[in-house]
């Protein structure tokens, strides 16, 4: 089962890490966006199964992308994972309010990422927070 994922992070090392983690497990087609603008372009025209977004980015931040996805008909099926460095801060609270399905606390491991994604995409309708 291949799914379609988008990683939005301004760090190319993080994007490479996420891509390698998911693609090597024969999991996914992974698209990358290095800025919020690039993400907007991609989200406007493509549907994703899972979108992984860093909270802290210049210009368009991760929360704004979640808010955009909530309003975008194309992204209603997407699971939203927010990457943040501090759990339980204002940023993650706002993420919950914007319907983030899960958080990844930086730094995360390959296994944590894979587990989380497979959990979110399991055909059971359970959403973890």
């Amino acid at each position: 089962m291949a799914f379609h994922a988008l990683i939005v992070d301004d760090s190319s090392a993080v994007r490479a890490f996420v891509r390698a983690s998911l693609e090597n497990a024969n999991f996914a087609r992974v698209e990358e966006a290095g800025t919020g603008f690039e993400a907007l372009r991609i989200l406007a025209t493509h549907a994703f199964d899972v979108v992984i977004v860093d909270v802290n980015m210049p210009d368009i931040n991760g929360l704004e992308l979640l808010s955009f996805m909530n309003k975008s008909p194309r992204q209603q099926g997407a699971r939203k994972i927010l990457i943040s460095t501090q759990a339980g801060g204002i940023d993650s609270q706002r993420g919950v309010d914007l319907g983030a399905d899960a958080f990844l606390k930086k730094p995360f491991t390959v296994e944590e990422l894979r587990d989380l994604v497979s959990r979110l995409l399991a055909p059971v309708e359970g959403v973890s927070g």
């Binding site: 090392a13 090597n24 802290n56 706002r94 309010d97 730094p107």
Partner: protein, 688 residues
């Protein structure tokens, strides 16, 4: 194929390096603004925070435990700084500057988790944590003063919220701007908007809305804070971005913060096949990061193609007098010329990609200048010209250490203390100039100070005292010759050695490193006025212009940068002085060395050869006796491989076409071999 994890690891190291460089650059700006007493741009502090924040994140993911720990502590400190909980001071700046060296050394650790580093890292972290936090006095949340849409407040990050608060406290008014942007060009449009806004306003955030947008355009709600009234702001933006509305100030109590909005959770669907925009899913980033080894590989492919081109040439030549194939021969010739043009373009293109501006190194040097000046209690103004001068990436990497040493030297030993400068009727503040420019196929870098200059006689006496020079030989030395003594191994003008100048290396090592890059270094100094060190380097190492010669029926190549001239060899003119063969050239005595004998290609004592190729390294010259001069050519050097890497005297091999291979002579090591004997060689190699 290589392990994909290696590539990801490379990606990490490259990004970490870039982040540390950006951090260093931004810290210098911060330091400058602080010392001038200017208002610190919050965006600058945020940039610094972001570099450290990103570094912390990726270090953790790639197992760089110590880098992560240091970045984490710094991040907390910077977070306090950007959220206004602590103020900038000298102590804080020093701690921030220390991080650069620390990150750089931690990133180069063989074992990124090395327990030996633990103590040092913890010590540093304790220093970071010791910087106090000034608690902010809260007198109600200023954001409550405005009736801001909860949907907007709900997407602000903690930092953006802080900036919003700070702007309101500073008395700025809040505005909302709604504008549509073309998705393809939104980055540029926002950049333009930001620049336009900068004079009058601070942009807090951009919220994409779904209204008024389609697949090609998107509407953004921009929240900004400005010092000026609404009409003036509208006039400033010339209605270019639609209307700007002021956000009303509240007259009553704020509503409750936004609750969690429930959004429908749809069941998962398979990846949709009917995506209309499949084709447009392309990356818009306009730069890529490339491993330099890949460029080396491409360059060697170009070299192979050049051989194909010469094979075609030979076929054309063989058809030349053959009337029956006249047309084919002409066609082939035309194709060959086309191939050559494209090859040249390809080669130029690859070379161009390898070029990076020297500004990268200069930024590091600026940090050294600041640090050294502080340690020595000196005042130093750094003046940089030609930071955009481009040079091969590999050269830039190798240049950093030598240049760092030269800069440190200029401040430690060149520029005087403010008191001494005043006594010498100079400005209290010394000037250190870094100049870079292109000169032919070379790049020239000058490190120039207006300090006390070098004492040539003291250098000479020092050299005699240490047995590096006989009193007799010193008689013949010109002033320049005395200055050049500074490049001798083990000579330093001062008895006490500061913890300076890059891990205790001397000018001899600087010189060796520059020579290894095919460059040269010269020194000019006037006592009381200052010192100028000039480093001349080839622009690239990938292609070298070479003089091709033959010796005992074998082909060799001299790097043209080392060759001064070639003169006919007259065996009868050769004399022997101190057991060395010399000739006299325009009144100057010149040592000569028969390459055939040196390489054991013919027995010693013979007087064969027809030309003397005169090579120079700095102020030293040596004539090499060869048989034939074939001509000049641009050649691509290939390494001799691991098994032959210990062979001295050669820099590599190069293909000359016609299945001919020439060995590229390594002038610096030949000079060392000749003047200092094989022992000097070993000493050089055993150096770390």
């Amino acid at each position: 194929m290589s392990d994909p994890r290696d590539n990801v690891q490379q990606e990490f190291l490259a990004e970490a390096q870039e982040l540390v460089e950006a951090l260093s650059r931004d810290l210098l700006l911060l330091d400058e603004a602080h010392h001038r007493g200017e208002r610190i741009d919050p965006a600058l502090i945020n940039e610094i925070f972001r570099s450290v924040h990103t570094l912390k994140g990726i270090a953790g993911m790639f197992g760089y435990k110590h880098v992560g720990a240091v970045a984490h502590a710094l991040e907390d400190l910077l977070d306090d700084l950007r959220l206004g909980r602590t103020a900038i001071g000298q102590n804080l700046l020093d701690i921030l500057f220390d991080s650069i060296e620390r990150f750089q050394s931690l990133l180069t650790l063989e074992d990124p988790q090395s327990p030996q580093e633990e103590a040092g890292v913890q010590h540093y972290i304790a220093a970071i944590r010791s910087i106090g936090i000034e608690e902010e006095v809260e007198d109600g949340d200023p954001i409550d003063k405005y009736a801001i849409d909860p949907a907007v407040l709900g997407v602000l990050t903690e930092y953006e919220e802080h900036r919003l608060r700070a702007c309101i406290r500073e008395g700025l008014r809040l505005y909302r701007l709604r504008a549509s942007f073309k998705l393809m060009s939104i980055d540029d449009s926002i950049e333009a908007l930001r620049e336009k806004a900068q004079e009058e306003a601070e942009i807090i955030t951009y919220l994409p809305s779904m209204e008024g947008g389609n697949d090609d355009t998107i509407e953004l709600v921009v929240l900004l804070a400005a010092r000026v009234p609404e009409e003036e702001l509208n006039a400033h933006f010339e209605s270019r971005y639609g209307s700007i509305e002021a956000i009303a100030e509240r007259t009553h109590l704020p509503t409750l913060p936004p609750r969690r909005t429930s959004i429908p959770v749809l069941s998962m669907r398979p990846p949709s096949e009917d995506d209309g925009g499949q084709a447009s899913l392309r990356s818009v980033a306009d730069s890529v990061r490339v491993d330099i080894r890949k460029l080396d590989h491409l360059m060697s492919v170009v070299g192979e193609l050049a051989l194909v081109r010469s094979a075609v040439n030979r076929i054309v030549d063989s058809f030349k007098n053959d009337v029956t194939h006249r047309q084919s021969s002409m066609d082939l010739d035309r194709i060959g010329r086309g191939l050559e043009r494209q090859l040249l373009e390809l080669r130029t293109g690859i070379l161009d990609v390898r070029m990076v501006p020297l500004g990268q190194v200069f930024n590091k040097l600026a940090r050294i200048v600041r640090q050294a000046a502080r340690e020595d209690d000196k005042q130093v103004r750094l003046v940089v010209t030609g930071a955009n001068t481009e040079v091969d990436k590999l050269i830039v990497e190798e240049l950093t250490d030598p240049l760092m040493h030269l800069v440190r030297n200029a401040i430690d030993h060149g520029i005087e203390s403010p008191e001494a400068r005043v006594r010498a009727h100079k400005r209290e503040e010394g000037t250190l100039a870094l100049n870079a420019y292109h000169k032919g196929s070379n790049v020239v870098i000058e490190v120039e100070d207006d300090g006390g200059g070098m004492n040539a006689h003291q250098l000479r006496d020092e050299a005699i005292e240490r047995g590096l020079l006989t009193a007799e030989a010193s008689q013949e030395l010109s002033r320049q010759g005395m200055l050049d003594l500074v490049f001798l191994p083990g000579l330093s003008t001062r008895s006490e050695v500061t913890d300076m100048s890059g891990r205790g290396v001397g000018m001899d090592v600087v010189k060796t490193n520059i020579l290894r890059l095919g460059g040269m270094i010269t020194i000019a100094s006037e006592q009381g006025t200052g010192t100028k060190i000039t480093v001349t380097l080839p622009i690239t190492l990938a292609i070298i212009r070479a003089l091709i010669v033959t010796v005992a029926a074998r082909t060799f190549a001299f790097p043209i940068t080392a060759v001064q001239e070639a003169v006919p060899y007259v065996p009868n003119d050769v004399h022997t002085i101190h057991g060395r063969n010399v000739i006299t050239l325009r009144g100057e005595t010149l040592a000569i060395c028969d390459l055939g004998q040196l390489f054991g290609l013919r027995k010693s004592g013979g007087r064969e050869g027809r030309f003397v190729v005169i090579a120079s390294m700095g102020h030293r010259k040596l004539g090499f006796v060869v048989d034939e001069l074939i001509g000049q050519d641009d050649v691509i050097i290939k390494s001799l491989g691991k098994s032959l890497s210990s062979v001295r005297g050669f820099a590599g091999a190069t293909d000359l076409g016609d299945q001919k291979v020439a060995l590229m002579l390594d002038a610096p090591s030949l000079f060392t071999e000749y003047f200092e004997g094989p022992d000097a060689f070993r000493a050089l190699e055993s150096r770390p």
